[in-house]
């Protein structure tokens, strides 16, 4: 009930204002090309949530949301073109779902003063709001993810990884290389041997990599993959009889389409997730107000899948930040600067998520001027091939802040020095 009344009350409160233009949330999606299988459900979830806001709640604070879509094909140049083509339309926030595009957009959004939200991807040290004023990466970043994997493995191994061999199989790109500094630091701290094995994009052929893994017999393989690399890696792991429950992907290597091509052979494969996937009440609302009315971005078949849920979660965080901005400024017609302020004062509590029809979808966290990274918590889930379902194995696990905080500090300080940025928030 609160779900429906809160936006209504805010809408009534703000309705007395002048006639409002739409709130614009551009969607830099990829529905074509080799990474489309991941891009489509994310974009569907992202767009459907804004449609739900419009159809069920009459918009955000009474103002309709508009989501202009621009196809990037996961191509960095096209992503930048999409940004340039849509930014003049009153864009409030960008979520490009690509680390490569993110790196190109960081200097642009800092100059254009438009917030960039890279949820669980992008430049990790952007978590430091003192340096990255316009970039946010809550609720978790890659270094958090790497730390959560190691923490989980330690729990599974009686609290120690001393002498164990861990292989990082990674997409040979800016994205895939992100967790390396953290894993190297954790390797020194916990005494495990880390081996790095890159896979060139797109990763259709991985025979050499898996022969190496077969020779070296690591205790665990951690994967930072995306697109076809994930499906091939899981199949190759099965081919060499690598124990699936010792194979853990990050949150971009843990969707249904990553495991289904390998069939029963993928049973037991594990992956991180920054958002728990269960049958949330909000899905019923989406089916009623969006899919059944023929307004869904896709055909509705993705509702409830891992990446659809994550896209919806990303949209929900944007909507909640917009609402926060509206409450802070007393106007429904917010601009990008107000949106940024809203993001910087965002508080996600268990009660709020429950009221939105997504109880426990993510960890509780608070964003601040200095902390743009959130709690960094993630769960570990396991694929049950028989039921074709991801089963959560753990509750949200906190990362090792003792290791990550200095890395973020050092990397962001280097960025600040290179770009002549004076730290803020003092």
């Amino acid at each position: 009930m609160t779900t429906r009344l809160a936006p209504l009350a805010l809408g009534v409160l703000l309705a007395a204002g002048p006639a409002a233009a739409d709130l614009v949330f551009p969607d830099l999606s990829y529905r074509t090309g080799p990474f489309a299988a991941g891009g489509i459900p994310f974009s569907d979830g992202y767009q459907d949530y804004f449609t739900l806001m419009n159809e069920r709640d009459g918009g955000i604070g009474g103002v309709k949301a508009r989501v202009p879509e621009c196809e990037t094909a996961y191509n960095t140049e096209k992503g930048v073109e999409c940004y340039e083509a849509t930014k003049g339309d009153g864009a409030l926030i960008y979520q490009p779902l690509s680390t490569g595009i993110t790196y190109q957009l960081i200097p642009k959004v800092e100059a254009d003063h438009i917030p960039l939200h890279t949820m669980g991807y992008g430049r990790t040290s952007a978590a430091n709001g003192k340096v990255f004023e316009w970039v946010f990466n809550y609720p978790a970043n890659y270094w958090d993810g790497a730390s959560v994997v190691i923490k989980y493995l330690m729990d599974e191994n009686g609290g120690s990884l001393e002498g164990k061999k861990i292989t990082l199989l990674y997409h040979n790109s800016a994205y895939g290389k992100e967790p390396i500094p953290t894993l190297e630091a954790l390797s020194k701290k916990h005494g495990f041997k880390l081996t790095l094995i890159p896979v060139d994009s797109p990763g259709q052929e991985q025979k050499s990599q898996w022969l190496q893994i077969r020779r070296e017999r690591p205790d665990f393989v951690v994967m930072w993959g995306w697109g076809v690399m994930n499906q091939v890696a899981i199949q190759e792991a099965a081919n060499i009889n690598f124990p699936m429950d010792h194979f853990i992907g990050n949150w971009w290597a843990g969707a249904e389409h990553d495991v289904t091509p390998a069939g029963m052979a993928a049973d037991g494969y594990k992956a991180l997730n920054m958002n728990r996937v269960v049958d949330y009440p909000v899905f019923a609302d989406i089916r009623t107000h969006v899919v059944d009315k023929g307004l869904a971005a896709g055909d509705g078949s993705n509702v409830g899948s891992v990446l659809y849920t994550r896209g919806m979660y990303a949209a929900m965080l944007a909507v909640e930040a917009a609402k926060t901005a509206q409450e802070m400024t007393g106007t429904a017609q917010i601009d990008a600067a107000m949106m940024r302020d809203g993001m910087e004062h965002l508080e996600m509590t268990a009660a709020k998520m429950e009221a939105l029809g997504m109880p426990g979808i993510g960890p509780e966290f608070t964003v601040s001027c200095a902390d743009h990274g959130g709690s960094g918590m993630a769960i570990v889930q396991q694929w049950n091939a028989g039921d074709r379902k991801w089963v959560p194995l753990t509750d949200f696990i906190a990362p090792d802040a003792e290791v990550i905080a200095p890395l973020i500090e050092a990397d962001s300080a280097a960025f600040a020095a290179e770009n002549g940025i004076a730290p803020r928030c003092d």
Binding site: R31, T32, G33, P34, F35, A36, A37, I40, N172, L196, I197, P198, V199, D200, P202, Q204, E205, K207, S208, Q209, L211, Q212, R214, R215, R217, G227, V228, Q231, V232, Q235, E236, A238, N239, I240, N241, H257, T260, P261, G263, A265, G294, D299, S301
Partner: protein
């Protein structure tokens, strides 16, 4: 001793990978040989063939998204599950129809145009087919199940385990790669027999040698083009099945064409044996380089090393290993 045995294992797996590269390269060679067209769309043909195979096998309604959006229906599947063999035969039929359509709609209108024009047309065809495949069968990843075996050969692994000491875990050879090798061998033998001993095959060779001379003795160029694009479509289907079995059928399958380019540079654009030998050399070369030098320079050498190897060959034999020597007289 252990390292040597592992090097042998890498070499064998390189040969097998090379066969898979050669399967893609074969499609390029067939079309180039018969028409002088570098078919940029060959990778997309493999994708389209594999999408069609899975779609037919699973009884997927083609253009379901379009139909549902236009008429408000909720169609997705016919409700049948076709046996793999039937689906493969039907897919071959679709590829032949596609070859006819390509000839009627594109090639027929470009007779006597410069090769670069024909090449540009195939770029357009690639983009069209990728989008057409998407609209027809959807962009989600599809599981390909035509009964191919997956995983290493347990017998070989157990029989050879311990040969080089306790750290040698036996030879690993993927059973899918063995099947791919056998299929490629059958394909090459069939193509060779077809081109040597059948009337159409001889016509095809005549066109490959000299278009105008072939036309003057009554060979239909249009028929030959349909024939050769049909065969290339069938080869693309085989490549799509072998690669799709590893990764599921998805749009990155079209990128396997990138693996064929160094093979073509090395083996020559006009030789079927060249495609096979080139594939094997690239496969073994890139895998051995990754095994020996890769760890010293951070790995992920295969993509670029294949091109470097091809370039080295180009310096000494610009026409490729089996390509026709280019002789230009003033």
């Amino acid at each position: 001793m252990t390292d040597l045995l592992y090097a042998v294992e890498v070499m064998i797996n390189g040969l097998m990978a090379g066969v898979l590269y050669a399967l893609v390269a074969l499609g390029f060679v067939l079309i180039f040989k018969a028409s002088g067209i570098f078919n940029y769309a060959q990778g997309v043909l493999a994708l389209f063939a594999a999408l069609t195979l899975v779609g037919l096998q699973e009884g997927q309604v083609p253009f379901a998204h379009l139909i549902n959006a236009a008429f408000g229906t909720d169609l997705h599947y016919f409700g049948w599950q076709l046996p793999a063999v039937v689906a493969i035969v039907l897919t071959i039929g679709v590829m032949v129809l596609l070859a006819i359509a390509i000839e009627r709609l594109i090639l027929k209108h470009l007779v006597n145009q410069a090769p670069i024009i024909l090449f540009m047309a195939t770029i357009g065809l690639a983009y069209f087919l990728e989008g057409f495949g998407d609209i027809m069968w959807g962009a989600d990843i599809k599981t390909l199940d035509v009964g191919l075996p997956q995983g290493g050969s347990a017998w070989l692994e157990q029989a050879t385990a311990g040969w080089g000491g306790e750290n040698f875990y036996g030879f690993f050879i993927d059973r899918l790669d063995i099947v791919a090798t056998l299929v490629a061998a059958v394909l090459v033998i069939s193509l060779t027999l077809f081109s040597q001993y059948s009337k159409q095959g001889r016509a095809l060779r005549a066109v490959a040698d000299d278009h105008q001379a072939a036309l003057s003795v009554g060979i239909s160029l249009r028929f030959i083009w349909v024939l050769v694009w049909s065969i290339a479509g069938i080869v693309a289907l085989v490549a799509g099945i072998m690669w799709g079995a590893k990764s599921g059928v998805q749009f990155s399958l079209s990128l396997i064409a990138l693996k064929a380019l160094p093979v073509l540079m090395l083996g020559g654009f006009t030789s079927i044996p060249g495609a096979i030998v080139g594939g094997l050399i690239i496969g073994v070369g890139e895998k051995l380089f990754e095994f020996t030098v890769g760890p010293m320079i951070g790995g992920a050498t295969e993509n670029w090393f294949a091109y470097v190897l091809a370039l080295v060959f180009l310096v000494f034999r610009p026409q490729g290993l089996f390509g026709e020597r280019i002789i230009e007289r003033v």
